[in-house]
C-alpha cells in the first residue's frame, strides 16, 4: 500500500485472529457508535448481526411480495382460461376459450391447488433472490476493499473489520489507534481508486 494521498481514503481496515476476536471487536466498534463500517468473514458468524447492531434482514418481505404475486397470477390465469364471464371476455378478447372437460364446471378450487402452489413457490423464489440482490447490493463487481492486499483471505480464513472514512466519528489517527486497541493487526489505509 502506498501512502501517497492521490487516492481518496475509503477507510481503515484491520485483521483479527479468530471468529471470537472478531465478534468481540465488532461489539466494541458498535458500542463506540460507528455507523458506516462492516465485518468481513469467510462464513456467516452466528450472532454477528447482534454484535454489529444490525436489525433483522428484510429479505423475507420481498419473498412475501413474490408469493402474493405468484398466487394472484395463478388465480387470474386459471380464471381467465376457465371462465366465460363478460369481464374476462373484455380483457382477453378472442383469446379466451374456456375448456369444458367431461362436463366439469369451468373453475374449481381443488384441481387448481397444484398450479396455485407451484406458481406461488416460483415467484417467492424470484422475490427472495431479488430481495437479496437489492438489499445486499449485489452484484457489485468492484469495491474499494478489493484494493487492500490482505483482503484475498476474506474468502479463505481471514477475519476483517473495515471502518469507512465517511463515518461521522472517523478520524485518521484515532480510528487507527482504536482498531489496534480492540485487537486488530495489520491496520491499513484502504483507498478508493
Amino acid at each position: 500500500m502506498s501512502p501517497a494521498p492521490q487516492h481518496r481514503l475509503y477507510g481503515f481496515a484491520a485483521e483479527f485472529a479468530s471468529a471470537a476476536d472478531l465478534y468481540h471487536a465488532a461489539e466494541k466498534v458498535r458500542d463506540k457508535g460507528f455507523r458506516r463500517w462492516d465485518v468481513h468473514s469467510p462464513y456467516p458468524i452466528h450472532g454477528m448481526d447482534d454484535a454489529m447492531g444490525l436489525g433483522r434482514s428484510r429479505v423475507s418481505l420481498f419473498s412475501l411480495l413474490g408469493a402474493a404475486t405468484g398466487l394472484s397470477l395463478a388465480f387470474l390465469m386459471i380464471c381467465l382460461a376457465g371462465d366465460d364471464h363478460g369481464i374476462v371476455r373484455a380483457i382477453m378478447g378472442n383469446f379466451n376459450y374456456p375448456i369444458i372437460v367431461a362436463g366439469k364446471t369451468p373453475f374449481d378450487i381443488e384441481p387448481s391447488v397444484p398450479i396455485f402452489f407451484e406458481l406461488t413457490i416460483l415467484l417467492t423464489a424470484f422475490g427472495t433472490v431479488f430481495g437479496l440482490l437489492a438489499l445486499g447490493r449485489i452484484p457489485q463487481l468492484h469495491h474499494p476493499m478489493f484494493n487492500w492486499d490482505r483482503f484475498d483471505r476474506v474468502t479463505d480464513d481471514g477475519f476483517f473489520i473495515a471502518i469507512r472514512a465517511d463515518d461521522a466519528l472517523f478520524d485518521e489517527a484515532e480510528t487507527r489507534q482504536f482498531l489496534e486497541s480492540i485487537g486488530g493487526t495489520g491496520v491499513s489505509r484502504v483507498e478508493e481508486d
Binding site: L122, L132, I138, L141
Partner: protein
C-alpha cells in the same frame, strides 16, 4: 485430546462423544486449499478418460433425439396398449433422483443437520443434472416437438388454453418450478465459494470468469445477514416444493382409472421412493469422489453412515408401501386391481396362472427384481459394517439404483399391457432407440457431474468452515495446561452451589 491437556473424563466417554464433522482438526485454510485445488490443478488423467467416455455416451442423446424428431415417436417400442413405456419410466426415475439433493439442501438445513454441509453442493448439482435428464423425456415424447409450447399457458391464435385440471399440466408447472428453484438455490449457495476461487486465482482470465460468477461477493456481514435470510426462505419453500413435485408426478398415474395406477397411496409412496433412490445416487457419486480427491476428512464415514441410514429408512417405507398396495389390491375386492397385481406383477406365471386359464404374464421378473433391490438389499444397512465400509455401501446402493428404475417400469408397463379387455392385451419390448437414449442420459448425467467437479467447488467450503469448532464466536481455543485443575475447581464449585441450593430447598419446605 491426545496432548495430555484433556479435562479428565469418564474412560468410556468417547463412546457417547459426537464424532467431529471434519476429521483431524483441519484448519480453515486446509479446507479452502483442498477443495479449491480440485478446480485449480491440472486435470488428472482419470478425469480426461472418464469425461471422454461419458461425453461419448452423452452424444447419444442428441443423435437419438434428432432421429426421433425426424422419424417420429414410433422409433420407440411403445404402442397400444403400452402407450407410456421407457420414456415415462426414465422421466420418473431421473426426477426422483433429484429429490435427495433438495432434501439434503433444504430439509436437512431446516432440521439443523450440520453434517449436510459437506455433501449438499454435490447433491444439489446431482439434482440439477438429474432434472435435465428427466426433462428430455416428456418434452420429446409428445412426438411433435414444435408443438411443445402448447403446454405453456400462453394465449395463442388457436384460442386453446391448456387444461388446468390435467395432472400432466400440473407436471409442467411442478417440474419447471422445481428446476428453476433448484438452480437458484444452487447458485446462491455457490456465490461465496466462487469468490474463494476468484481470490485465489493468479490467472487474470480465471479471475475474471470466477469474479463474474461471484458477483462481487466480499464476505461482508451486511451481505451475509441478507444472504442467510434468503437461504432460509429458499430452504423453507424448497421443502414443500420437493414433496409436491413427486406427489404431482404420482398424480399422473393416481388420477387415472387404470388398475395398478388408481391408488391413493401413490403420493407418499413416490416421495419416499424418490428420496430412497436419490440418496443411493448421492452415495454412488460421492464414495468414488471422496476417494479420488482425497476428501475423506470432509466427507467422513459418519456422512456415509448417515446416508445409509436414510436409505434404510426410506427403503423400508417403500417396502411397506409395496406391501400395503398389494394388501389393498386384495382387500378392496376389486377384481381388476387384484388381477393387475396377482397376474401382471407377482404374476406367478407358472403356478396359479395357467391353472386359472390365464396365460403367464411376461413381466414377473421385473416385479421381483424391484422387490429384491428395493426391499431386501437396503436391509443390510441395519448392520454397522455395511454402513461403515464405503465400498461395501457402494455395492449395496446399486440395489436401489437399479430397483428404482424397475419400480417405475413395473408401475407403468405391467399396468398397461393387460387391462380390462383381454382382446386388447399386448406386450412391450424396448427398441434399440429406447436403450440408446436411456444410456445417453446416463452418460449425460455423469458427463455433467464430471464437469461440475472439475470447474465448480464440489464442497461448500464456507458452510464446512462454519461447522468447525473454532468457527463459533464463543469458542475458546486450546485448553491451558492447568485446565484439568480448573475443571476440578469448577466442578467443586458446582457441587457446592448445588448442595447449598438443595439445603435451601429442604429448609424452605420444612
Amino acid at each position: 485430546m491426545a496432548d495430555g491437556t484433556a479435562i479428565p473424563t469418564h474412560p468410556e466417554a468417547h463412546l457417547v462423544a459426537r464424532q467431529p464433522l471434519v476429521l483431524n482438526r483441519r484448519p480453515m485454510a486446509w479446507i479452502t486449499d483442498h477443495v479449491a485445488r480440485i478446480v485449480e490443478d491440472k486435470s488428472k488423467m482419470w478425469w480426461w478418460i472418464a469425461t471422454l467416455i461419458a461425453g461419448s455416451i452423452a452424444a447419444l442423446v442428441p443423435i437419438q433425439l434428432v432421429y426421433l424428431v425426424s422419424t417420429g415417436v414410433g422409433v420407440w417400442g411403445l404402442n397400444h396398449p403400452v402407450g407410456w413405456a421407457w420414456d415415462i419410466t426414465n422421466f420418473v426415475f431421473w426426477i426422483g433422483i433429484g429429490h435427495a439433493g433438495t432434501l439434503i439442501s433444504a430439509i436437512l438445513f431446516l432440521t439443523r443437520q450440520r453434517w449436510r454441509t459437506s455433501i449438499n453442493r454435490s447433491a444439489e448439482a446431482m439434482t440439477i443434472f438429474a432434472v435435465i435428464c428427466a426433462g428430455i423425456f416428456p418434452a420429446f415424447h409428445v412426438g411433435r416437438l414444435w408443438m411443445v409450447w402448447f403446454l405453456a399457458p400462453a394465449p395463442n391464435a388457436n384460442v386453446i388454453w391448456p387444461n388446468f385440471k390435467s395432472p400432466l399440466l400440473w407436471d409442467v408447472f411442478a417440474v419447471s418450478t422445481y428446476f428453476t428453484v433448484s438452480l437458484i438455490f444452487w447458485y446462491i449457495g455457490l456465490i461465496p465459494d466462487f469468490a474463494t476461487i476468484r481470490d485465489r486465482a493468479k490467472d487474470p482470465i480465471r479471475k475474471f470468469i470466477y469474479g463474474l460468477l461471484a458477483v462481487g461477493w466480499r464476505g461482508s456481514n451486511r451481505q451475509w445477514s441478507h444472504y442467510e435470510k434468503a437461504y432460509l426462505v429458499l430452504a423453507g419453500i424448497s421443502t414443500p416444493l420437493v414433496l409436491s413435485v413427486h406427489s404431482v408426478v404420482s398424480f399422473d398415474f393416481a388420477t387415472s382409472v387404470i388398475p395398478g395406477w388408481h391408488t391413493t397411496i401413490f403420493p407418499p409412496y413416490f416421495v419416499a421412493g424418490a428420496i430412497f433412490g436419490g440418496f443411493a445416487m448421492v452415495l454412488t457419486l460421492l464414495i468414488p469422489c471422496r476417494w479420488l480427491f482425497g476428501l475423506q476428512d470432509l466427507v467422513t464415514t459418519k456422512h456415509i453412515d448417515n446416508m445409509c441410514k436414510i436409505v434404510l429408512l426410506t427403503g423400508t417405507i417403500v417396502g411397506y408401501a409395496y406391501m400395503m398396495e398389494l394388501f389393498i389390491a386384495w382387500y378392496s375386492g376389486n377384481p381388476y386391481e387384484w388381477h393387475a397385481f396377482l397376474r401382471n406383477r407377482i404374476a406367478d406365471p407358472y403356478i396359479i396362472g395357467p391353472a386359472a386359464g390365464v396365460p403367464p404374464a411376461p413381466y414377473w421378473w421385473a416385479y421381483w427384481s424391484m422387490m429384491f433391490c428395493n426391499v431386501i438389499v437396503p436391509q443390510f444397512f441395519w448392520f454397522k459394517p455395511c454402513r461403515q465400509n464405503a465400498w461395501l455401501a457402494l455395492i449395496l446402493v446399486m440395489g436401489p439404483n437399479i430397483g428404482m428404475w424397475f419400480e417405475r417400469f413395473v408401475i407403468i408397463v405391467t399396468s398397461l399391457h393387460r387391462d380390462f379387455m383381454p382382446g386388447a392385451w399386448g406386450h412391450f419390448v424396448p427398441t434399440i432407440n429406447d436403450i440408446l437414449l436411456f444410456s445417453g442420459t446416463i452418460g449425460l448425467f455423469v458427463f455433467l457431474f464430471l464437469l461440475f467437479v472439475r470447474f465448480f467447488p464440489m464442497i461448500t467450503m464456507f458452510e464446512v468452515k462454519a461447522v468447525l469448532p473454532e468457527a463459533d464466536p464463543h469458542h475458546h481455543p486450546a485448553p491451558r495446561p492447568d485446565a484439568g485443575h480448573n475443571a476440578g475447581a469448577i466442578q467443586a464449585d458446582v457441587r457446592s452451589i448445588l448442595g447449598a441450593r438443595d439445603a435451601k430447598a429442604k429448609g424452605g419446605r420444612a
